[in-house]
């Protein structure tokens, strides 16, 4: 999957999880930039991302993921 394709699908997941239909994300987006992205919804986000891309992150990755860009890289490394 190309980074662009991942980014596009990831945007849809973010919109669904944070319930913001117009939400736009960039590689530099962090929890500070998205209303409602806290430790509770972080779990919801990861669950939705894992399901959407059919991937699984390690415990440490889930805990340390800070930027959307990191998320895209991890997904790219795990999808064909």
């Amino acid at each position: 999957m190309t980074n662009d394709a991942i980014h596009a699908r990831l945007t849809l997941v973010f919109r669904e999880v944070f319930d913001q239909p117009g939400l736009e994300i960039s590689p530099a987006t962090t929890a500070q930039d998205v209303a409602g992205w806290d430790s509770l919804t972080h779990i919801n986000l990861i669950v939705a991302v894992e399901k959407a891309f059919g991937v699984s992150f390690t415990t440490k990755e889930v805990r340390t993921l800070g930027q959307v860009g990191d998320l895209v890289r991890l997904i790219a490394a795990r999808t064909p």
Partner: protein, 596 residues
Amino acid sequence: MLKPDRSALDYTRLVKQARQLPVHGRPLKLALLGDVSTQHLAPVLRALFSTNGFDAEILEAGYDTVAQETLDPASALHSFRPDVIVVLQAGQRLAGAYAEASGDRTAFPRTHADAIEATWQALRRRGTALIIQGNFVLPAERPFGHYGLKVEDTLQHAVMELNRELALRARRLPGVSILDLDFLAGWIGRRHFLDEKWWVLAKSLCAVELLPEVAQGIVDIALAAQGQAVKAVVLDLDGTLWGGVVGDDGLEGIGLGELDDGGVFRSFQLFLRELSRRGVILAVCSKNDEVLARRVFREHPGMVLREADIAVFVANWDDKATNLRRIRDRLNLGFEAMVFLDDHPFERNLARTLPGLIVPELPDDPARYVRTLSELNLFETASHSALDSHRVGLQRAAEARQEDRAGFASLDDYLRSLATTAVVARFTAATLPRIVQLIQRSNQFNLTTRRYTEAECALLAERKDAGAPFTVSLADRHGEIGLVCVVVLRPAGAELEIESLLMSCRVLQRGVEQLAMNHIFARARAAGHGRVVGHYLPTPKNGLVRDFYARFGFALDRRTAESETWSLGVEAYEPRAVFIRELPAADAPPTLAAPP
């Protein structure tokens, strides 16, 4: 009622749904306790309760505060006054405790079960909420491999023993249900259900995306305790109970027994027979020649179900919606208490036009019928009584009574001919399950529709003197009818208040309510109460008893939108004549004077 659709259990969708739930619905207060984190479970629970018509208010006790919340009389839990308390404990914590235990660990399961039971007892002392206790999921770690089953001192063995201990203890304590997490995990696959990552990161009981499965289990149990249970299954015949079409293929040609997929239909029929033994009524609704259809039940050696297992048998060429309405009327049930099973999508869609009727999608392969129905968990129940196991027999005796009735000139003649006998008794341990069941299920002949839980009934049973609750059980020349009427009373100064009065609709117009009322007034008189007070709380279903108190000569004291209060002086009451002979009861209610 339960939504017959497993695809609704998507975590992300439910969380989103929980953000904007409609505010209406029956209120229900639920407390979540445990040594797991419940913050991801709670929204999912609220969404699923909402889908089922309940507005659930959820109290999340702090993480790992079971003991504090339970023992402190001033705790948030106790002031919340929950209807349902869910206790969830993590297998990971159990594994930790087991690993740290020293010396002989063979007593570990029992000690642990003692502690959990002590929590139930403490909760019970503070209230009558339904307690739902999750059991433990068989762990992945097996230091001995398969051999572990032969070694007593293993976690594997301890978990199995503990689950067994919990089940045994829950059977003894009214109002405690076990949420069978080990079954859920096993069904889904323990390697998916148990997820160390989500335990470490979020102290989640299981993989977060599987929390809806756990929540659905809780909802199923809570709803059954609220009286929402399936009471009857209506079955199509061709393609559903056997392969092929009996009208075309003939008795010898249908798929049953050795022929075609006969084994598949045998398994399905065995499952249905188990349901019937559990007290679920079976009925037939088929487009068929009735004589031919009945012949299959009578003569085909491959049939498991027989005519005697079917309470109402409708086989004709009318449309199924009409026939389903007839069956509903004959069974005296609401559609929401009925499931309709038909292999034909057209008939299913037609049946779905009947409001409330539960019509699950059936898979194309009949080999998967049992699995599909089991996955939907349509038959959750909150009680089981000995009466259940011969419910079909009771239903058929009722049909016989109906047929009898036609031959009599007057209702009185008919009632006299039945030679009905009654036993009036107090609440006993033996009758408690049936009492609870009747309280949960009666909608129509029910003056106040108060759904006492099993634990509350156990408390009511302790009321003394004129306030002692009582039951009426009937039999007649057609056989036993069973416990059909429950009366809950409360002495209030000079008055004796009828807190609850309900009756099975199987015994309308038999004089049971007159008999019960005679008893109530005899009791009031004997205990020196001057008046008897009754309430009518209207619901969409109990219009049948709108005039109940008026018919007994009570006067209306107060009326609001939600309730009516009626009363009658003890001296003004005229005992009613009934065609029921009362037999002495071993468990007669206390201080009961003979009716004047």
